[in-house]
Symmetry: C2
Subunit: 546 residues, 2 copies
């Protein structure tokens, strides 16, 4: 036997034996588990006895929504997350611009993370003129924390061919000053125009990103993540480099935490080509560390940027565009292409109108080409009606939620849609009660991908101010753990092999220094990751980092 894990409380998430004392692992697979005295019999001369030292072992945690390439890219971009005023944000842009000048770098100055709601002096998104006042000699753009709104300086707008656009004539989703010139802000696909001017990372850059970030994930106790990367930072360019990088990184053993890849392809012809070239479930590497698990689509924007697609619009912003990213025909066609090829579709939906449109598309595709065991899903599930949750139950649609989102959103939901709809929104309790498959993710880099932080929001419903927001919508701790383990494995078609500590499953474990089932939920974030085990290998051990 390769390893025996013992001397800890082991919570399996398997009804056959909710708790066991020891687990015997060989070649990455759990062969026996149960009482210590029964398992220690399998000890041989070459068995490594892994002493859990009284700690608590869980099935390995899996984050079902984040963006690895963006997390990595953002390490190099100006981060305005911590700016506390309009003035401070502009000053930080100015400093970075001057630094680039000193380095002789006249490329783009791109920043991320700003949230005007956090600013003390002025809760306004900077205009192109504001940006010009601190950086006019190079193209500059500031991406809002949600990612869905981007504000550009004049130089950048010129470079993108946007300065000649006119209100009422333009096909772009952008704002104008009263004088008819662009104000600088652009939204959704148009907001991401700057991406077309970013260089596509090389194969080596992608590989280094996967190597570094998956090692970081393991430190957080994550054994796998569902990662939306394809076409995520370069929507119109080809995906040859990233696909080659997945393959090479997996084959060369560079990947620590498993990557379940969301494949974002939003044009019918490209999608047809993609699903033919890469069939659903394609894996890379001898350990299958990379697996393609769904097609990702985007239905609308973000709540904070008022670009969600709402049945009733924004109560506090009647002029918000309130549109979908796709026409019904477009999304119907995309879902049908993916589903017919055996790919589930998981789509970003913030508003209830976007959810309606997506559920209609799922129905359209299933009526046209019925297919068994398709795990279509709604990512985010934010503003929703109970009627939509019940429709998801009737149709077998998965819910991908981000509990940590209420940190920022709790303060604005009721203003946007009212108390009545607010109580049906972010309502994880109702999802579990309906028996939906509910998994949890972080949408990192939008929010932190620390799973303990995320579980904290799932069970406490901390509205970002230390007070519970609609606490009757919380998950239980058991459900929160399930949403990061067995349900997250289910969402990757892996529940037969992973997601619980069961005989015959792969040995993916997260070891913590506290018993989540017994501690005060409000103190969850004090819990430390002791060890992360992936395929039976110790991928991280606190205090023993390289």
């Amino acid at each position: 036997m390769d390893k025996i894990f013992y001397n800890g409380l082991i919570k399996t998430m398997d009804k056959a034996y909710p708790y066991v004392e020891a687990v015997a692992v060989q070649d990455g697979i759990i062969l026996h588990l149960g009482k210590y005295e029964d398992i220690v019999r399998y000890r041989t001369d070459d068995t490594e006895m892994v002493d859990l030292e009284g700690n608590f072992m869980y099935p390995g945690f899996i984050d079902t929504h984040l963006h690895t390439v963006e997390i990595n890219r953002n390490r190099k971009l100006l981060d305005l997350r911590h700016a506390r005023s309009f003035e401070e944000a502009l000053r930080l842009v100015k400093e970075r611009s001057e630094q680039m000048d000193a380095e002789g770098n006249d490329g783009w100055l791109v920043s991320i993370g700003f949230n005007e709601n956090d600013w003390s002096d002025k809760k306004e998104i900077p205009s192109r003129l504001d940006l010009d006042s601190v950086c006019s000699n190079k193209p500059c753009c500031l991406q809002r924390v949600c990612g869905h709104t981007v504000t550009y300086n004049t130089k950048a707008l010129e470079l993108c061919g946007c300065m000649d656009e006119k209100p009422g004539e333009t096909k772009r989703n952008m704002d104008f000053f009263p004088d008819g010139t662009p104000q600088g802000q652009m939204y959704e696909n148009d907001g991401w125009t700057f991406l077309h001017y970013m260089p596509v990372p090389s194969v080596e850059e992608f590989k280094e990103c996967f190597r570094l970030e998956t090692k970081e994930y393991a430190k957080l106790g994550l054994v796998a993540v569902h990662s939306g990367d394809i076409n995520q930072i370069s929507p119109v360019k080809d995906n040859a480099n990233i696909m080659q990088a997945y393959q090479e990184a997996a084959e060369e053993g560079l990947i620590t935490t498993r990557l379940y890849v969301l494949c974002r392809v939003e044009q019918p012809d490209l999608l047809r080509e993609f699903v033919k070239k890469y069939p659903m479930g394609t894996t890379f590497g001898p350990d299958k560390k990379v697996k393609l698990v769904c097609v990702k689509e985007l239905m609308d924007g973000s709540l904070g940027a008022h670009s969600g697609f709402m049945r009733g619009g924004y109560l506090n912003d009647p002029d918000a565009a309130n549109v979908s990213t796709h026409t019904d025909e477009e999304i119907n066609e995309l879902v049908d292409i993916a589903n017919e090829a055996g790919y589930p579709v998981c789509a970003h939906c913030i508003g209830d109108a976007a959810v309606d449109q997506l559920l209609n598309a799922f129905e359209y595709a299933q009526h046209k080409h019925p297919r068994a065991d398709l795990r279509n899903g709604v990512i985010h599930c934010q503003i929703m009606g109970f009627d939509e949750l019940e429709r998801m139950q009737r149709d077998g649609i998965l819910a991908y939620v981000q509990p940590v989102f209420i940190r920022a959103d709790a303060a604005i939901v009721d203003d946007c849609v009212g108390v009545e709809i607010g109580k049906q929104s972010y309502n994880w309790r109702k999802m579990w009660d309906l028996g939906l498959h509910v998994s949890s993710g972080s949408d990192c880099p939008i929010e932190s991908n620390d799973p303990l932080n995320n579980i904290y929001y799932a069970v406490t419903r901390d509205g970002g101010n230390g007070k519970p927001w609609n606490p009757e919508c919380a998950m239980t701790m058991e459900e929160a753990i399930a949403s990061f383990t067995i349900e997250a494995a289910y969402a990757a078609y892996e529940e037969q092999r992973r997601g619980s500590i069961s005989a015959g499953k792969y040995a993916d474990f997260t070891v913590l220094d506290r018993n989540l089932m017994e501690i005060d939920p409000w103190t969850i974030r004090d819990t430390k990751v002791v060890m992360t085990v992936i395929d039976g290998k110790i991928a991280y051990r606190a205090g023993r980092e390289e």
Copy 2:
């Protein structure tokens, strides 16, 4: 929408919605289910509204152990099941022999179904001389109801080259008279010597068998069966005909109830060849009506014939041979070959010593070539210790039980092994409490394959005399239904697509005229099958047969 099933109580076995009012099906797949008012919206001009007429719909029932080819063959053999005396049995043999003479048929006279324990005058297995007294001019043999003991007349023994065997010298498993001549009885593989003289059915005969029998299954409410047929009636001959028949029958649409095939191959070289030629999970036909799901092995005989392999032997028969069908090395090698190729092994075990040997073989193979999600199983699980059930829990081994077996066995278990072991045996309660995967089958033609009859024994523990035997070992009704639905699908690696009434699963339904959850369990057998639906097609409807 092709069909909407409505106007009945629909028990789904899916935690998302334990009961629903209506189910919408297209192309054989459940697309929507829930309240009638929500589902009827999917009605289109060409929708067939299937009125359940107030009846009760369940996921389609699946029998996880029977023998289709033997069921079919037995239709043509002399059936001694209903003989109530030694004298009556011999008289029936005489009549059949005379009938064959009249037809000019000098082939084998083979009978099945006798059980000496049912006989009023003499509870003894007939000897060759007894048989000679009623049939001496042609080879004749009587197979005991369990199948594991066969008694031959002199002509048959001569034909098989057995009349020259001597006690103490023979390698055959057979009995002798005090004068040193064969008594006529032979056991296990030697008992089945006659099979070598039976003609292998032609492809057309096998196809007709599958056509006829799977149609009969549907009348019983069975949507699928796990069927042990390969090499079952002709152990040493090649399996070309049956494999071709599976393929052609499936392709030509002759199969009604799905066949999950247990592949019995008991020689290492042949098994290596088989698993290479037919990989695990091979399906035949456009609807995949035939699927290979496991390798079947045989570890011992039967309880009634005192040929089970027992830790403590037979209390009431200290001279019983008490041997295994395989050496440790043989079964280890067979399991390793199958498991390494991805095939689970399910093996017939009656006695606790046989179970020990099999569990050791599972452990041997998993230690040598660890493999995830292997669903090795123990078929029958009759005489067992709790230690073995707990070992199955630790190692993730499936239990295939036949509740109906207690009809005949309850009367003899305590005599064979004592009360103490008897209470640990046939103990389905303990299996469920340990969280084992428990599925139910009939071993038909050994016992009736009516699933309602089988469920009756599972929940009432009727010991064959109308009185409950060790009633504390019963399944609940919920468990009994699970053992015929979701757990039976699990045993075929089909739980993601079948086994419950869930959105995205295939529409396999069994409709009954009564609510199993509310009726007196002792009256279950009065329940009638109203309809059987397979892949959304009505395969059987009471009163509307062809």
